[in-house]
Symmetry: C2
């Protein structure tokens, strides 16, 4: 079994409205030291170990399904178990 961790983040040039709200909430709770918050997705995939080319499969899954590449970046780590 391959365990894949995918990190999808909004491109740095884009305003992260959800992050802004969370930052405001943190400050309201008294955590003034929080200067910026950006919120992305963390996706864990389990992929059958008989897959021929797991790198290509994960790359395609990220670009076609998991991330919107117009506004998001992605990174992934593949571990064999």
């Amino acid at each position: 079994m391959y365990r894949v961790k995918v990190y999808v983040t909004l491109k740095p040039s884009l305003l992260d409205a959800q992050g802004k709200v969370v930052k405001g909430a943190a400050v309201n709770l008294g955590y003034d030291e929080v200067e910026n918050v950006r919120i992305g997705k963390f996706i864990e995939l389990s992929i059958n170990e008989n897959t021929k080319d797991v790198n290509t499969a994960v790359e395609e899954l990220c670009s076609k399904l998991l991330a919107n590449t117009v506004i998001e970046n992605y990174k992934y780590e593949i571990e064999k178990e």
Copy 2:
């Protein structure tokens, strides 16, 4: 500046409905090798470097604001820049 990465995941015993949908979409796209998908949040915090106890601050932020500890687990990494 401290850069903190927070990973929030649904507890393993709980059904991840969003993950199930994404898994179905992956199979429909022809990626039958995808056996399981779980979707969580990836949160990046920037915290002022004058913070006295950054570990406690991050721990409290996670448990009070970023994760719902009834249904979610969290992990974090703190890096000083």
